[in-house]
């Protein structure tokens, strides 16, 4: 049974002004028992999220930039761990988040197809069987023989997308990939996605494309500044979100709790 269960999840990032403290500073602090530079602040990306997704659901996530959509997806994909609360994902999950990261630039397209498949735990025999279909779908042809370092970002997207959609996960987590590649590929990619969505037991999809979300999903969550605003019927939620976006001063269903960030 594939499902997702979130119970009072909060995720807080520690932010260092200069990104890192140095080992020298760290040791000095330990030795001298002095306070570290006061540049550590925290950002709460997700706040008290509780919901569950059952098998058979197609769950949409909408929200403006910086609302916490991607963070939420990364957590569902097991990349981030909640600071407090619990997040359980049952079933083999696959995340399609940042296309184009985790690529060996010196290796050619074929090799990268193999590496990405191996990372999912596939064997060379499986890869050999699948890579022809992957190559065909990507339409990269001869270009698969050159190092990926020479690829344009569009070609990179084609490559990664083709590999990712060849894997059949139980839980599929997708972030904005409908805009993959050029127009011709976008169409193909869309068809492939719909196909995949039919086969996956649980789908979680974050997108800015409201009509797509409304038509594809069975339930939609609107998140704003890490807080759940609305969750329920796709049309209702997308309409409310649209209204809020058009009237910047419209009141939020669940206002952001007033709280100063820790200094």
């Amino acid at each position: 049974m594939a499902s997702i269960q979130l119970d009072d999840v909060t995720l807080t990032f520690q932010v260092w002004q200069n990104k890192h403290i140095t080992l020298k500073e760290f040791i000095l602090k330990q030795v001298l028992r002095r306070q570290l530079r006061k540049t550590v602040s925290s950002v709460t990306a997700l706040r008290n999220l509780s919901f569950s997704i059952e098998e058979g659901e197609r769950f949409g996530i909408i929200g403006s930039n910086g609302s916490g959509k991607s963070t939420l997806l990364k957590m569902l994909g097991g990349i981030y761990t909640p600071t407090t609360g619990s997040c359980y994902v049952t079933g083999a999950a696959y995340t399609m988040l940042d296309l184009g990261v985790g690529i060996e630039t010196e290796a050619n397209g074929w090799e990268n197809i193999a590496y990405l498949s191996y990372l999912q735990g596939q064997s060379p025999t499986e890869v050999k069987r699948k890579s022809k279909a992957i190559a065909e779908f990507s339409e990269l042809g001869e270009l698969l023989n050159i190092p990926v370092r020479y690829y344009s970002s569009g070609m990179m997207v084609r490559l990664v997308f083709s590999v990712a959609t060849e894997i059949e996960p139980e839980v599929l987590i997708i972030d904005e990939v409908f805009g993959a590649g050029d127009l011709g590929f976008q169409d193909k990619a869309r068809k492939r996605m719909l196909d995949l969505i039919d086969r996956a037991k649980v789908l979680v999809l974050a997108s800015h494309d409201l009509p797509t979300v409304a038509s594809l999903c069975t339930r939609v969550l609107w998140i704003h500044k890490g807080v759940v605003q609305m969750i329920g019927d796709p049309v209702e939620v997308t309409e409310a979100y649209k209204y809020f976006m058009q009237h910047g001063d419209a009141p939020l269903p669940h206002p952001q709790p007033v709280e100063r960030l820790a200094a």
């Binding site: 890192h20 080992l23 981030y80 994902v89 990261v101 985790g102 690529i103 990372l119």
Partner: protein, 267 residues
């Protein structure tokens, strides 16, 4: 299942499930390094060989040592020292280099360390082979029963290199000056490790007392004894090497367990 810590067995199973990933990437790393050079694999050997020759010439003139004796002695020391240095330097980069994967895939961090260690061990084995070949050319065949002790020694060294890679990989991801500090540390340790000191100098009590405190010396002895003197390494040497390796491995496992889910926030 995510969001909860995997059991130890589950963790290793996940690492094993992805074995083709880290082995294939290690092969890719090696190939990439040699692809664009005429000398191919010779490149990575050039540095140790040049260094050995320079040191050998200098020392043989100054200390009037027999080159045929000193050269293999130096080469074995150099091979193992280069292995330690590479483990440290490549180890520092191991997670930073894997940032793209770590940010987009939920996989045990250990697989990125294995990728690094495999390439470093490969170079080490090549350097050892060159040393052996060289010794055969000089007419002192190292093949005897003691030679077989190199096999368990290599296993110990592999675990040692892996642990160093994991620990420094984390250190450098959290503290960006870790690599600079470790380079300085290695420079100091080099003089405290019996790499280039001729055998008769090593017998001097002052030096002996200092070197006795450096556990890295045991790794040098572990390789040098069977190759140079056809002797099985002493019990003390084996004990020190094994204890140091076990301690580092335990530390590496502890850090992996504690910070597996935290590292991504610091990249």
């Amino acid at each position: 299942m995510q969001g909860v810590g995997l059991s130890v067995g589950g963790y290793w199973r996940e690492v094993w499930r992805r074995r083709y990933f880290w082995t294939a990437l290690a092969v890719n790393d090696l190939r990439t390094r040699y692809r664009r050079s005429v000398l191919g694999i010779g490149w990575s050997l050039l540095h140790p060989i040049a260094m050995t020759l320079v040191l050998a010439l200098a020392f043989s003139r100054i200390f009037k040592i027999n080159l045929a004796e000193y050269l293999p002695f130096l080469m074995t020391g150099n091979a193992i020292w280069n292995y330690i240095c590479s483990s440290v330097n490549e180890g520092c980069q191991t997670f930073i280099r894997a940032e793209g994967y770590i940010r987009s895939h939920n996989a045990p961090l250990m697989i990125y360390a294995f990728r690094t260690t495999l390439t470093v061990v490969f170079h080490f084995v090549i350097t050892l082979l060159v040393t052996v070949l060289f010794m055969v050319c000089l007419g002192r065949s190292p093949f005897n029963l003691a030679f077989l002790t190199l096999i368990p020694s290599l296993v110990v060294l592999f675990i040692f290199g892996f642990s160093v890679t994991v620990l420094l990989g984390f250190a450098n991801a959290y503290f960006p000056d870790a690599q600079h500090l470790s380079v300085v540390g290695l420079q100091i340790l080099f003089y405290l490790t019996p790499v280039m000191y001729p055998p008769d100098i090593l017998e001097k009590p002052e030096l002996k007392a200092v070197l006795a405190w450096n556990p890295l010396g045991s790794f040098v002895t572990l390789i040098r004894e069977p190759l140079m003197y056809a002797r099985t390494p002493g019990f003390g040497t084996i004990a020190v090497a094994c204890i140091l390796t076990a301690a580092l491995f335990a530390a590496a496992c502890y850090v992996l367990r504690r910070l597996q889910n935290n590292l991504v926030l610091h990249l």
